[in-house]
């Protein structure tokens, strides 16, 4: 096969059985790979009613057809499972090298089933696959785990692992590869921990076959030039994602103190310009990336000293303004800890912000404070709470359930800024209508990245400049971003490649690579197909239209200060049109006509 390898590796951790199966080409063609292929396999094999932390859940790692090739900024992989946080589909995307390693080792997907009796790790070297004892690794943090596993397998192995958070089933535990890259959201790390699987080490010496080398080269060089000329892609190289803090704040759409407000006067202290000046060591990129948005960072201040990568915008916002903190050293340290413990760096700070809000508001009893001074604006507190959460110590044991279950425990779920119980990220839905609709409708819960309308509503990317306050046209916009992103995810691309590349570029590269002719419309349609498949699973799992909503605070409590003062989210007004443009009925159920069109029914 070209682009795809043609082999799926299946490992039953209960029995130790290892099998290699042929990739179903029809599935690959329709669902592309990564997010698409993994979701197709998952939804075919696993009942929607499965308990997420039971052995019956599956964990599927899949790179895309582009992964491991010269396709620019397209070296990624996806992890799919049922989410213990949302009880819907989890799909977490990561960069680094791991995806390419899996392709070079000879696989389009790794399907992990069952549960090992004792902690294990997997060692995959090309066709050779071993399940090894990991008792000596259990309890170790991500950096030590990575180093030890490499020393026992291969110095050049790529390692994806969980830290203590995944082992202890923190509901938003991540899977970390190359230590600092994360398949972060939805608790995929907890699913891995529930299987007693500590790490996967991969080393591959194969390659990826290309159907038409000349055509791929031409398409790749044309695409690279577009990315090189794109101001947002270049801005990401210069400053990383944290450059976003100031534009969100200046427009009054920087959620502050658990969404109590939308403006934080000292935000600049944790923005990308400050990060570059104060803690940046160097830039870093993922496999085959021409942007290199990664930031290697070091804090020298003894209280928060450490080295690692990030913070990205979401983490800088979450630990910064969302917790009322403007200390960049503390924010950087808290983010380093998320990578080291294996925690989603959005759900962790937003859960912490929720707890602080509840404490400050008096709805969290003082005897639950775990001896801590729970208040806004404390750098020491955000670091300590992150540590306790990752280790499930003290109050951290309850924070580990995520903000929704935490707040619900005390009778106040309205303090949780979540959609479908997943923490909502860093753009105020009250001031930016389209992203609010994305939060409310995203199949994996509160998420920005799977439908990043911010590009058009705030960033003027591709010189598209839409009024963030307007609702007209936003349902169609959100659908377009969601579908395109699903296709990019499924082909192994990083969404930052869309600052430069469009469907035409991706389709040209995919056709040349695989030998399967994809038009730009085919490419986007694959994304729409994947979106609908995820939706069907969620409906079967018990999610419904009532879950396509936002917290009361975003719908009813206007932003208090700043340029967007007085605004609220108008998601309920946009939802009917969103269902309609999607071809769904008024309860958000895909029509048979739509499913037939997408080849999801026959």
């Amino acid at each position: 096969m070209n682009g795809w390898i043609g082999t799926v590796l299946r490992i039953d951790l209960t029995t130790g059985k290892i099998t290699k199966e042929p990739l179903v080409k029809d599935d690959a063609v329709l669902f592309l790979g990564a997010r698409g292929l993994a979701t197709k396999m998952f939804t075919d094999e696993v009942p929607a009613s499965v308990e997420p932390l039971s052995p019956e859940n599956k964990l599927i790692f899949a790179p895309g057809p582009f992964t491991g090739t010269l396709a620019p900024s397209a070296g990624r992989y996806h992890v799919v499972a049922k989410s213990p946080l949302t009880n819907g589909i989890a799909g977490a995307n990561s960069g680094g090298v791991f995806g390419a390693a899996v392709k070079y080792a000879g696989y389009d997907a790794l399907v992990l089933e069952g549960k090992a009796e004792k902690p294990v790790y997997l060692w995959i070297k090309d066709g050779h696959v071993e399940i090894r004892d990991a008792s000596h690794l259990w309890g170790k943090w991500v950096p030590d785990t990575t180093d030890l596993v490499r020393s026992e397998t291969d110095d050049d192995a790529s390692v994806a692992c969980i830290g203590p958070a995944g082992e202890k089933l923190v509901l938003f535990a991540s899977i970390q590869n190359e230590m600092h890259r994360a398949a972060g959201r939805g608790g995929v790390g907890a699913v891995m921990g529930s299987k007693n699987l500590k790490a996967i080490a991969v080393r591959g010496t194969g390659g990826v076959r290309v159907a038409d080398v000349k055509a791929l080269e031409a398409a790749v060089w044309a695409a690279r030039a577009k990315v090189a000329a794109h101001p947002v892609a270049q801005g990401l190289n210069r400053h990383g994602t944290d450059i976003l803090v100031n534009i969100l704040n200046e427009t009054g759409c920087l959620p502050t103190r658990n969404y109590q407000d939308g403006h934080f006067p000292t935000a600049d202290k944790v923005g990308g310009e400050s990060l570059t000046a104060k803690v940046l060591t160097r830039k870093k990129g993922c496999f085959a990336c021409v942007i290199s948005c990664g930031r290697v960072t070091r804090v020298n201040e003894p209280k928060f000293a450490g080295e690692g990568e990030g913070p990205e915008y979401e983490a800088a916002w979450g630990y910064g303004p969302d917790c009322g903190v403007d200390n960049l050293d503390a924010v950087t340290k808290a983010n380093h800890l998320c990578n080291e413990l294996g925690l989603d760096s959005i759900s962790a700070p937003v859960t912490i912000a929720c707890a602080i809000d509840m404490a400050e508001s008096g709805v969290l009893p003082a005897n639950e404070f775990d001896g801590l001074d729970l208040r806004w604006g404390s750098g020491e507190l955000i670091v300590e709470l992150t540590r306790r959460t990752g280790l499930r110590q003290g109050i951290g044991d309850k924070l580990a359930l995520g903000s929704y279950r935490f707040a619900e425990m005390y009778g106040h779920p309205e303090y949780s800024m979540t959609a479908k119980k997943q923490e909502i990220p860093a753009y105020d839905a009250r001031g930016i209508q389209g992203i609010g609709l994305e939060y409310a409708t995203c199949n994996r819960g509160g998420c920005h990245v799977k439908g990043y309308t911010i590009a058009a509503e705030v960033l003027a990317a591709n010189n598209v400049r839409l009024d963030p306050r307007e609702i007209k046209g936003k349902p169609g916009l959100v659908k377009a971003f969601q579908d395109m992103t699903a296709a990019v995810d499924a082909s192994g691309g990083c969404i930052f490649g869309t600052f430069g590349m469009v469907a035409d570029d991706y389709a040209a590269m995919l056709s040349a690579l695989t030998g399967v002719p994809y038009s730009p419309a085919d490419y986007v349609k694959a994304g729409e197909r994947i979106w609908n498949l995820e939706r069907l699973f969620n409906l079967k799992a018990g999610l419904s239209a009532k879950d396509d909503t936002l917290p009361e605070r975003m719908l009813k409590s206007p932003i208090k200060t700043g340029p967007s003062k007085g605004l609220v989210s108008r998601v309920p007004e946009m939802l009917p049109e969103y269902y309609s443009v999607r071809g769904w009925d008024d309860k958000g159920v895909p029509s048979l006509e739509k499913l037939l069109e997408l080849q999801l029914a026959s």
């Binding site: 801005g235 400053h239 100031n246 534009i247 948005c293 990205e312 979401e314 990317a461 010189n463």
Partner: protein, 89 residues
């Protein structure tokens, strides 16, 4: 009036923000005056007669794209932000 600079615009002026003494009629005349003061900024502000596609100008937090563009009138206590088109995440 306060004028603030962000991202890769900052090195072109050497400052994060400055107080602008006189009230200027509109965004166009303000940007012309800023370009006079900060020569390195000049080529970033306009493409011919239009505002450059590589910048975003906010007046009191609102993009001039949704006000009156370069003809957006300015008041003495306005805050004007000059952002590069840069960044996503």
């Amino acid at each position: 009036m306060t004028v603030k600079y962000f991202g890769d615009i900052r090195p072109l002026t050497g400052v994060k923000e400055e107080v602008w003494p006189a009230s200027h009629g509109d965004v166009r005349s303000l940007l012309n005056a800023l370009g006079e003061k900060h020569h390195a900024l000049r080529t970033r502000l306009f493409e011919g007669n239009q505002l450059s596609s590589t910048i975003i100008i906010l007046v009191n937090g609102r993009s001039v794209d949704f006000l009156e563009g370069a003809e957006t009138p300015l008041e003495p206590d306005d805050i004007v932000d000059v952002f590069p088109v840069e960044g996503g995440g």
